[in-house]
Amino acid sequence: MSFSLTKNKSGVVVVGVDGQLIVGNRQDLKQKVLDALDGGARKFVIDFTKTGYIDSSGLGVLVSLSKKIREQGGDLRLAGLNEDLQTLFELTKLDTLFAIAKTPAEALAAF
């Protein structure tokens, strides 16, 4: 499990979540995104294409990051959720808080 950060030509940071986003690694993701925010990045896509599962702590860190990014005038979008993860966002009503795109490419195009 790991997180990868890449910045495209338009300055959008794409964060890949490989494996899981759970209580044991959420702080690592949070710190990486906050470091990029401190470094001036304002547009973020979290790519869940390679993610097996997300627990409530992982959901919580996304809520917290989204708030912090918005406070800095930025935007956080989610992409690549499989059917189960999409259902998780719907059950928790977090689909109403986040802009969710089917693919990272769609999320990037929406900025």
């Binding site: 499990m1 627990d55 409530s56 708030k67 998780l88 059950l91």
Partner: protein
């Protein structure tokens, strides 16, 4: 401390029946490895790969995190005990901590408008959404998750 999974055939003796036991230290860093150790035992078993990948892993991670954080309060002297009974019809996962227990009825609904933007408070809700049945011990320090076969 390395995690050690105890695997034994079930007392009921069915071919697909087995029992697992695992003690997990009260450190959230153990949640991921403990979940993988248990989920690996269900390859080709009574639960579909999709339900193992998502429902079992997520629900078990929630139960372990709750037991470590709220039950054992991260106390390194306390362990969380996991016992899994896998049968032909269902899998039962018991997660027990050494805490004083809690009343699940008083946990607020995290989907209410005033709570939606909170970082915490979704664990029990997520857990209940992903398994077929949830039961608590009378003391409130042990939870049993049931996933029916399929």
């Amino acid at each position: 401390m390395p995690l050690r999974l105890d695997v034994r055939p079930s007392a009921t003796g069915g071919e697909s029946d087995f029992e697992l036991a695992l003690d997990v230290p009260s450190d959230l860093g153990y949640v991921g490895p403990a979940v993988e150790l248990i989920a690996d035992r269900f390859k080709g078993g009574v639960l579909s790969p999709r339900r193992v990948r998502f429902n079992l892993r997520t629900a078990l991670a929630e139960a372990l995190a709750n037991a470590i954080a709220y039950g054992n309060r991260h106390d390194p002297r306390r362990l969380v005990h996991v016992r899994v009974e896998a049968g032909r019809d269902a899998v039962h996962i018991h997660v027990t901590d050494a805490g004083a227990g809690f009343d699940p009825a008083v946990v607020p609904d995290p989907t209410l408008p005033g709570r939606l933007e909170r970082e915490d408070g979704r664990g029990l809700f997520v857990l209940r959404s992903l398994v077929d049945h949830v039961a608590f011990s009378a003391a409130g320090n042990s939870i049993c998750l049931t996933l029916r076969a399929g």
